[in-house]
Symmetry: C2
């Protein structure tokens, strides 16, 4: 069966300020040493499985030009601009109706645009298997990540160890972000995976699920589908999309559906959720414009200016052309408060 991919790229990436800005969020930045942006890496990674004309990018109008610049091979009609962010369920629904308007049925791979993967080879093999499972019957497939520490910032997938068809396990339930003790239990139990937000299903399967579990959203999606490729396409999208229920696909569909399978993705995954992750994926060394004295376990991103650090532990220092951020790792979650203050003070040039 034809394989397609929907790459979700509408995020603002506030936790990566000041590198990411409202006009240049994380997925359009290179955080690795190869110079490729996160979204370019994502498209490259899926290219052995999906033809470029079958790759769809869900984003918003502000980022349309960035997508065109960074991914010139993607057909312009595959750049789907949500009129407003409505969480993952409507976003996936929008992608699904575009695929459904093009093909009678097809496998649809859903991927975030801001993950880092160490082994593209294992990634490809995993998704070949996931596609096979998705094509059988009406299965919803999610690729989970084998946890290697008790992370409390992710949801988990509980699977049935006994119910494996060779590549995939039957999912028992999705669970919300746990507290630390619970996360430790999950890790020890061995039948939990991190919910990474990567999915595979047939378009027919996911649309059937929308009809069953999110029926008003389904109705709106059908109106949008009917207009795809017509002169009314944008008018209908602007009219219908904002009214769709803002809901995650996890809560709106996955937690309610049956026939859910998961595969363990052991391809070296990092969601690069914030500057904290950069410390995991990138060496910080004493070169370039950075001079460190007695400094340990820090993320330091220099720009043109010299950055000198003395006595730092567990900190994040990010210099850019017009702004410098200094934060403890512990308080990195509060970086968004800086943006709120800048907004309040009308200093929009820094957002």
């Amino acid at each position: 069966m034809k394989k397609t991919a929907l790459i979700m790229a509408g995020g603002k990436g506030e936790r990566f300020w000041p590198r990411s800005r409202v006009n240049l969020p994380k997925q359009f930045l290179s955080l690795t040493d190869d110079g490729k942006t996160m979204i370019q890496l994502t498209v490259e990674r899926i290219s052995p499985l999906v033809d470029i004309e079958d790759v769809y990018i869900a984003t918003n109008a502000n980022y349309r030009e960035l997508v065109k610049q960074q991914l010139p091979g993607i057909p312009e009609e595959n750049i789907l601009c949500e009129p407003i962010g409505r969480n993952t369920a409507p976003c996936i629904g929008l992608g699904a109706v575009h695929v459904a308007a093009k093909y009678d049925d097809a496998v649809m791979i859903v991927l975030p645009s801001d993950h880092l993967i160490k082994s593209n080879e294992i990634f490809k093999d995993t998704f070949v298997n996931a596609c096979e499972v998705a094509e059988k019957g009406s299965n919803l497939v999610t690729v989970g990540i084998t946890p290697n520490y008790p992370e409390t910032g992710y949801g988990y997938i509980k699977y049935n160890k006994e119910a494996c068809d060779g590549v995939a396990y039957s999912v028992e339930k999705f669970v919300e972000k746990p507290d630390l003790d619970t996360a430790k239990e999950y890790l020890a139990d061995g039948s939990y995976l991190w919910n990474s937000g990567m999915f595979v299903w047939k378009v027919s399967t996911i649309l059937e699920c929308f009809k069953k579990f999110m029926s008003s959203t389904y109705d709106g999606l059908m109106k949008i589908k009917a207009a795809v490729g017509t002169a009314d396409e944008d008018t209908v999208l602007q009219a219908e999309f904002p009214g769709l229920e803002s809901q995650s696909v996890d809560y709106g569909i996955m937690e309610k559906a049956s026939d859910i399978y998961t595969l363990a993705g052991n391809f070296g995954w990092d969601d690069v959720g914030s500057w904290l992750a950069v410390g995991r994926i990138k060496e910080n060394d004493d070169n370039g414009n950075v001079v460190t004295v007695n400094t340990q376990n820090c993320v330091i991103e220099g720009a043109e200016k010299l950055i000198a650090t003395v006595g730092l532990r567990d900190m994040i220092v990010v210099d850019t052309k017009d702004a410098t951020l200094i934060s403890t790792k512990e308080n990195a979650g509060e970086i968004k408060k800086v943006l709120a203050k800048l907004r309040e003070e009308g200093k929009n040039e820094y957002l």
Copy 2:
């Protein structure tokens, strides 16, 4: 008796990097909100007591132009450039022979160029009294600072509480920088002052002391004196000064001499020894180009660029046009290691 002043301004101010640079050390910077530099404030402070043509600046050739720019009223021949730093004793000796070449005898006030004083009025009154004590007989007078916490970074002056002539106390001894327990004892005892490096004496008195306690230095100084105002002045200075013993006036003279008196300077003194002191003297608020979130007890000096801090405690952040320093207060003493690294790496543009 005629009053003169010697202001010592040869320091490199490394602990104020990156604001202070090898070509623009601390004493030539404004660290306060009034825009005046430290050395300008020092000259202004002594002006009610000393005519401008009797103010001498001891510095080195690198800073001659800065002195001329910042203190245009000082006669050029009063800018004394040491060929090499030789600690305070030879520096004071050089000033003394210049005063002695001009006046038969005179009172000489010796001041560092990088202190901050809250009350210029009380400062003036204190030095009026100190001059009176110095003029009587052959007294060496030092103005100490009443300690308000057990500082371990300064030497202390032990005086005799019983031996007060109304304004000055007889000094029992000078003591080196104490450990914390000892500093606490000094504080509790009530007969100790911080040694601030401010002195008053007659030129005849201090030269007599050089003759008695640092005789080879005295001989060199006399050769320099003989050449003052002649065509050979600079040649003799270059020949003699580097050979003088590198010694502090505290160790070389004060600890050995008798007839030493001290006055408590209660004029709101701060030696602004490092960035730590800036936190004491300057309010840091959330204005200008600084945005702070959950940040306490920090020294933050912004420049043109936006500085955003999150979760910081007890830190120093100093931004300048070409370099940004981030240091814990605890490790501020290691800032000089940054300079050492820059020197090693040949990055002299940042020194």
